[in-house]
């Protein structure tokens, strides 16, 4: 049964190949069928694998397809690995992926590059699946880079606009910076532990390295570099908002549900290693916290519907990092899953809004659209509730677990918790700011358009609504994976959390929603009057620019880099050789003057020569 693990990426890959080679000749319906169908098949395969896995004793499964690389003592296989963590990931990827593909068959139907879209989407899913089922880091890296490439291609999907191309390159290069760090991490792990096979690696690491040893710290830091790049965390978060240049389903699938959470997956997968480096683990938490707050602030100020969601994604992944950092592994993965549901829902809802309103992105040009766009409204409502962790929606459970996990940390735990709660407050504000501005109040444009919808687009939305609402009741089968690290296990700690804390966690998001209501719906407070304060104005523009990271990086990296690339176009090394040429030509010019043609000078040269030689003879 588990041999069919290999089939998981095979179907999307076949879909990709078919569309790549024959896409130009196929009718659109066929393309849609192949594109979405391959993921559907993959989902069925996933189910067929997961069912026996869950009903069995949830033992890990390994399946080596073939030996990829074997040089000397280095060996890397095309090996697949299945455990609880993988199960969650493949279900999310194939499940949510299938829904988004289905949605796309409606959303993208008018695009001239329909088949290119599905080809790359399928390739993406294949890469993502390889990433999560790889049993060794090199294969994981293959998937890791593969999803990066697909992300690049899809962000720049509408390539005729150079802006999109820029965003795509920004995304790719920024994540590549992280990937490079990760690659160095792989080198380090291999040279120190002699293998890249994840399971043996973790065992070796625990055997050979003490807690807090230098190698562990270095290795985890390097892996963390990869993770923050892919998951758009500080300091490499700047690419994700720009990545919204791609079609909206892309944002839903890649930049919300799956790819950006790869970093979370990586850390969770390597968690025993991180446990060997408590300082780094704390750093993960702090990065998560800082990111979630910064992104939260920024999300409150954005106008572009997709950018708001992008910053919210960054913020939510910040929560996951926080969870990872505090050792609440399963909570993070849980949040990863619920986030995939509600954020996909939100993005797809946003897609419907955008498509219906003729590619309008600015939320302040919308307003009062709940009648006009009922399905989108429902999606947004449910998605935002889940996002804001409204009690008993999916987001509530997962966020709750993370925050409780944070509390369990000795020392800084309370502060981490407090940060998370503040973040939750902002989440409430910005998520419902979006809902209120777009769907309530008076209409500020686009009065006549009806909702673009169809079964293909609506069905995924409904399914996702259900999942976003009820996803919190799913039990993810990761206990075995994290069992040995679950010394701080949630079950035990939950009792120590006071009811007051619980109450705070329930109330704070509601407060956020309330504030948002007062500002954006009831009109009790007005943003414009607040903006009259110079401080608020400065803060607003600071937050709006994403805390100035783009400017900072432009100043620190891009400008010097551009300068560097311009400054030496003609290759300064060449001037050395040109110098030799100049020298020779000069020597030629000088020596040619001796060939004056004058016979007497020629005789004189002979005389000089003789005198020189003879004086040589006299003196030597």
């Amino acid at each position: 049964m588990f041999e069919s693990l290999g089939l998981l990426p095979t179907f999307p890959l076949l879909g990709f190949l078919t569309l790549f080679l024959a896409g130009g000749f196929l009718p659109r319906r066929m393309i849609g069928l192949i594109g979405a169908g391959s993921i559907g098949l993959s989902f069925l395969v996933a189910l067929s694998i997961v069912m026996p896995f869950l009903s069995g004793d949830s033992e890990e499964v390994r399946h080596v397809v073939y030996t990829w690389l074997s040089v000397g003592n280095f060996e890397s296989t095309f090996g697949l690995y299945l455990d609880g963590l993988t199960v969650v990931m493949i279900l999310v990827i194939t499940g949510v992926g299938f829904l988004i593909h289905l949605y796309s068959t409606g959303f993208m139907i008018d695009d001239p590059s329909f088949s290119r879209f599905f080809a790359i989407m399928n390739l993406f899913v294949a890469s993502m699946l390889i990433l999560v089922i790889a049993d060794n880091l090199l294969l994981l890296y293959l998937g890791w880079e593969g999803v990066g490439l697909c992300s690049y291609l899809l962000i720049g999907f509408w390539y005729t606009d150079p802006e999109n191309g820029y965003a795509a390159r920004k995304a790719f290069v920024t994540t590549r910076v992280g990937d490079t760090s990760m690659a160095i991490g792989l080198f380090l792990l291999f040279t120190q532990l002699g293998t890249l096979d994840i399971q043996s690696l973790l065992v070796f690491a625990q055997d050979r390295w003490d807690i807090g040893s230098g190698f562990a710290i270095a290795a985890t830091l390097l892996l963390l570099g990869g993770a923050v790049g892919k998951s758009a965390q500080l300091p490499l978060q700047t690419w994700l908002p720009d990545a919204m240049a791609g079609p909206t389903p892309i944002s839903a699938l890649i930049h919300a549900a799956t790819m950006v959470t790869a970093g979370v997956y990586l850390i969770a997968r390597m968690h025993p290693l991180f446990e060997l480096a408590p300082n780094v683990q704390l750093l993960v938490a702090l990065i998560g916290l800082a990111t979630l707050l910064i992104a939260g602030f920024t999300a409150m100020t954005q106008h572009d519907i997709k950018r708001i969601l992008a910053y919210s994604t960054i913020s939510q992944i910040g929560y996951m990092f926080l969870g990872l950092g505090v050792g609440a592994w399963s909570a993070s993965i849980f949040h990863l899953m619920t986030h995939a549901f509600f954020k996909a829902l939100l993005f797809l809802g946003a897609g419907t809004v955008i498509l219906s309103l003729h590619h309008e992105h600015d939320i302040f040009k919308m307003g009062g659209k709940w009648r006009q766009l009922p399905v989108a409204f429902a999606s947004f409502m449910i998605g935002s509730l889940a996002l804001a962790a409204f009690p008993f929606t999916s987001g509530y459970f997962s966020k709750d677990e993370i925050l409780i996990g944070a509390l369990a940390v000795e020392g800084v735990g309370l502060w981490l918790w407090l940060g998370g709660v503040v973040g939750a407050f902002f989440t409430g504000i910005y998520s419902f700011r979006l809902v209120f501005v777009v769907f309530f109040g008076e209409s500020r444009g686009h009065h006549d358009e009806g909702e673009v919808t169809g079964l293909a687009m609506a069905l995924p939305l409904f399914v996702l609504m259900v999942l976003a609402l009820l996803g919190g009741f799913i039990h993810i089968p990761v206990d075995n994976v994290f069992s040995h690290g679950a010394a701080l296990g949630a079950a035990h700690e939950e009792h120590s959390v006071s009811t007051f804390m619980h109450a705070v966690m329930i109330v704070v998001p509601l407060l956020g929603i309330g504030v948002s209501y007062l500002f954006y719906c009831a009109g009790v407070f007005s943003v414009s009057s607040l903006m009259k304060l110079p401080l608020a104005k400065t803060l607003h523009s600071f937050w709006y620019s994403g805390w100035g990271f783009d400017c900072l990086y432009k100043l620190l990296f891009i400008s010097p880099f551009l300068w560097l690339s311009k400054v030496n176009r003609r290759d300064v090394v060449d001037t050395f050789y040109a110098g030799i040429v100049v020298l020779s030509v000069f020597g030629n010019a000088v020596s040619v003057r001796s060939q004056s043609g004058l016979l007497r000078w020629y005789i004189l040269s002979i005389v000089i020569g003789i005198v020189l030689l003879v004086s040589l003879g006299a003196f030597l």
């Binding site: 043609g597 016979l599 007497r600 005389v607 003789i610």
Partner: protein, 102 residues
């Protein structure tokens, strides 16, 4: 019998040789150049004569005869060329021969 020390002969020959060289270098009239050449060749002849008298055999003197012949031949060819030169350029200034250069 006192003989002239051969060093003296050599010094004289060297002086003549140098004189000839200077003449060849500085004169512009081709005829004088040829004459200076003669002086040089005769200086070398003198060296052989000196050497021959030092060693007391005839080799050097034979060489001297050869040099005389050589000088004569050089001059013969040289004069023939001078006639051509004069026909062409109406001058015997050696510096007209500077068309080829570079």
């Amino acid at each position: 019998m006192d003989t002239i020390p051969f060093e003296h002969g050599l010094l004289l020959a060297s002086a003549l040789f140098a004189l000839g060289l200077v003449g060849v270098t500085t004169r512009r009239n081709i005829v004088f150049v040829l004459m200076s050449l003669e002086i040089m060749l005769n200086a070398t002849g003198l060296v052989f004569v000196v050497g021959s008298s030092k060693w007391g055999h005839a080799d050097g003197q034979i060489m001297f005869l050869m040099i005389l012949t050589l000088a004569a031949a050089e001059v013969a060819v040289g004069l023939a060329l001078i006639i051509q030169l004069y026909r062409r350029f109406k001058t015997v200034d050696i510096d007209v021969l500077s068309q080829l250069k570079g």
